[in-house]
């Protein structure tokens, strides 16, 4: 199939960018979206134009490295990662606009690549259980009811891709934040630091310049791992509890 692509090109973090238009031909519908960009890049390289920079690593939907705004949908029209989106989702002759995640907390580095280290810093503020290596009791010392273990797992599957931020009209990272809070909050191991964790992580979230959540729900609709809005409620509840406990 043949497509018209409008792709954001920006040479570096401080220069201005703009959408550039490219035509691609003979795209197979079995290609993944990123392979389609590979084909375009191969051509640009042969024509002497610098290839388009975009991030990806695992290309199987688990590392969270890829992420493009495709025709106004984070990761494209399907609920999956950009690397798992295939060209059969598009129609011959279609025009596709491709932009980087737009968030002040995720500055654009080049073309479609953004800096998501803000997420790492949020995790630094308590997104863990403080246990030193070697200090752990036997794994069976603390049973965890299956329902809780399952919920912890469901929320722990967040891949940190940032689609929630990219799609949220407020640029909020609440879904990401809520996923980690819920994961650790469900487990007995996570209880000791529960109050301080939520307060510190939310403080860093705000400090990074993410917006506040007003429960719009775009994030959960875009999340490739189907993290539900429940986690934001859980996040709010944990914060409210921390307020009550005087943190």
């Amino acid at each position: 199939m043949n497509l018209t692509l409008k792709i954001w090109r920006q040479p570096d973090p401080v220069s201005e960018g703009a959408l550039a238009t490219y035509q691609v031909e003979d795209i197979s519908e079995d290609m993944s979206f990123l392979e389609m960009l590979d084909v375009l890049n191969e051509r640009l390289n042969s024509e002497g134009e610098e290839p388009i920079a975009f991030d990806s690593d695992c290309r199987e939907g688990i590392c969270g490295m890829c992420g493009l705004m495709i025709n106004g949908d984070a990761h494209g029209p399907l609920r999956t990662t950009t690397c798992q989106l295939h060209m059969r989702t598009f129609k011959d002759g279609e025009t596709i606009t491709i932009e980087p995640w737009r968030s002040t907390a995720f500055p654009v580095l080049k073309d479609l690549c953004v800096d998501r280290r803000a997420f790492d810093r949020i995790i630094q503020q308590g997104g863990y259980v403080s246990v030193n290596t070697g200090a752990a009791p036997d794994a069976h010392a603390m049973p965890v009811p299956k329902a809780q273990a399952d919920r912890a797992f469901d929320t722990a599957t967040c891949i940190g891709c940032g689609a929630c931020v990219a799609s949220c009209p407020n640029g909020s990272a609440s879904l990401f934040l809520g996923a980690k809070i819920t994961h650790l909050g469900e487990l007995p191991q996570g209880q000791a630091e529960r109050d301080t964790r939520v307060v510190k992580m939310v403080a860093q979230h705000d400090h990074e310049g993410f917006g506040g959540c007003t429960n719009i729900g775009e994030c959960a609709a875009a999340c490739p791992k189907e993290i539900p809005l429940d986690v934001i409620s859980q996040l709010n509840k944990d914060l409210r509890t921390a307020v009550r406990h005087g943190y």
């Binding site: 079995d30 610098e50 695992c58 997104g127 863990y128 940190g160």
Partner: protein, 669 residues
Amino acid sequence: MTKPKILDSDFWGRNDAAEYFDLGDGIADEKAPPGPLDKKWETREFEARIANPANRRRLSIIVVGTGLAGASAAATLGEAGYVVKSFCYQDSPRRAHSIAAQGGINAAKNYKGDGDSVFRLFYDTIKGGDYRSRESNVYRLAEVSRNIIDQCVAQGVPFAREYGGLLDNRSFGGVQVSRTFYARGQTGQQLLLGAYQALERQVAAGTVKTYSRHEMLELIVVDGRARGIIVRDLVSGEIETYFADVVVLASGGYGNVFFLSTNAMGSNVTASWRAHRKGAYMANPCFTQIHPTCIPVTGTHQSKLTLMSESLRNDGRIWVPKDAADADKDPREIPEEDRDYYLERIYPAFGNLVPRDIASRQAKNVCDEGRGVGPEVDGVRRGVYLDFADAMERLGRKAIEEKYGNLFDMYAQITGEDPYQVPMRIYPAVHYVMGGLWVDYDLQSTIPGLFVTGEANFSDHGANRLGASALMQGLADGYFVLSNTIRDYLADGPFEKIDEDHPAVVEAQQSVQSRVDRFLSVNGTRSVDSYHRELGNIMWEYCGMERTEDGLKKAIDLIRGLRDDFWRNVRVLGTAESLNQSLERAGRVADFLELGELMCIDALHRRESCGGHFRAESQTEDGEALRDDDHYAYVAAWEWKGLDVGEKPVLHKEDLVYENIELKQRSYK
């Protein structure tokens, strides 16, 4: 034992590859203490000296890689109070390739009471590795496997649990006990996030500093010791120098030398290869694992392959049409009598459940015969059917959905076909490398002060890795082994401070800079990817599932030619002073072009079949890998000598001594 089928009567032991390498002195591990197997680690832990806690703040460590091996090591060393710097090429440590592991992690917990033990795990691993790994290392791995699970659970890793609230286990990879801990199909992800969180905790505590989007491009060796690395900030393009008292490489495997593999796009050999060129020996580089159940290639655009859990072979039946003319027929319309269930036919006892290497090789054979299915890529159909029709009839669609639902969905998403209706198509793909930098019991390479962990080292898996044991090894190395062995080395530190203008440093910086400049100045006509793809084809064809004398020699010539062409004709656009992904890839591919040759030489010199290394000339009547323990029960550790005419790699043999296990031939009929 079945009768050996050797095409050439004195094939074993003869060395036709001599023109490609020189034989050096033997090499041995000197760190594993003598004494009974089960006391070795305890003894070593006790004997390893301890750096004074007050002193640790003056001792610095560089860790390259944030996968299971690297993140766990950096976190643990940070907790111990050393000054740690951690590097990865992705935008966050959390994205290391370990995240993609699906199946699970082994541990000899014996929670099921089914007779598992440290010794059994040790035994299975040695046997699974086709008797090409070191007893001392593997035993230690089995021992600490239990602590890993405790540690991960304490970190909040959400392993699967039973209704009673206790941890669930499954059996995996054809072993008789249930010792695999798992978190649905995302075990690697959950373990890595646990390690990543522990790492970020240390970052907040100030003991670890992370450098993401930084790629190590050179090792600094001063006075015979590894003392630092040169990296490129992948965003600004700046070449930066970092010093430390010790360098740890946990940079993962090099399966991407095949271009198409289940590895992440960025997985590379650069960190290891640069260290190799600086004096670290590369061990058993040709030992590659090819996984039988991957989604086949659909066209020349393909950038990577996707693994599907091996568990599918429990219920799916593998077949191809008997007649090549049926290849593009609708499989449902091919009558039973025209199908060849070749694994069931050749291996009546194990059928579709034969080990990975065998299932893979047979799939290649039928496709080479022209009986493959699916789209034609480069003139060959590379795919076989994995059919669930029988299972669906027997168990019902619902049961299949429950067991394999997520895999079926993934398959449907990638291929656009509904596997409930049409049989799946699968094909083998490169998945893991057992080879890597040579290390001793302390995980120290042949360069003092350079430690290597995880998939980047060669230890533990011999010639074939069992399922669910790479995760175990990465975490064992990082959480429990390295911190204990490295302290012995650091007890002599801190080492003398190094100046930026030390000749060794300047040389390293210049070599990085000139390589970068060279990539950008060739300005030829071909893209980096096109070279990578071509190298991959050569490797897959001649150094893949089945290797032959002639094929390997041909491959070496082809690779040399390709490498020459690369340096004369590659085109890398953009600048050095910015984010430049073609430039990043150019460096990686340049190193693969050198590694590929060594892999072929290693494969050529090892005139036996073992595990993932299958020499067509050395097989049993049944087509089984046939080992030659008299000549090849050793680790091949290669020393770099250069690439110019007359410069050949030097082989150092480390003899493998089995004191606790008897060597046997594998059989699956």
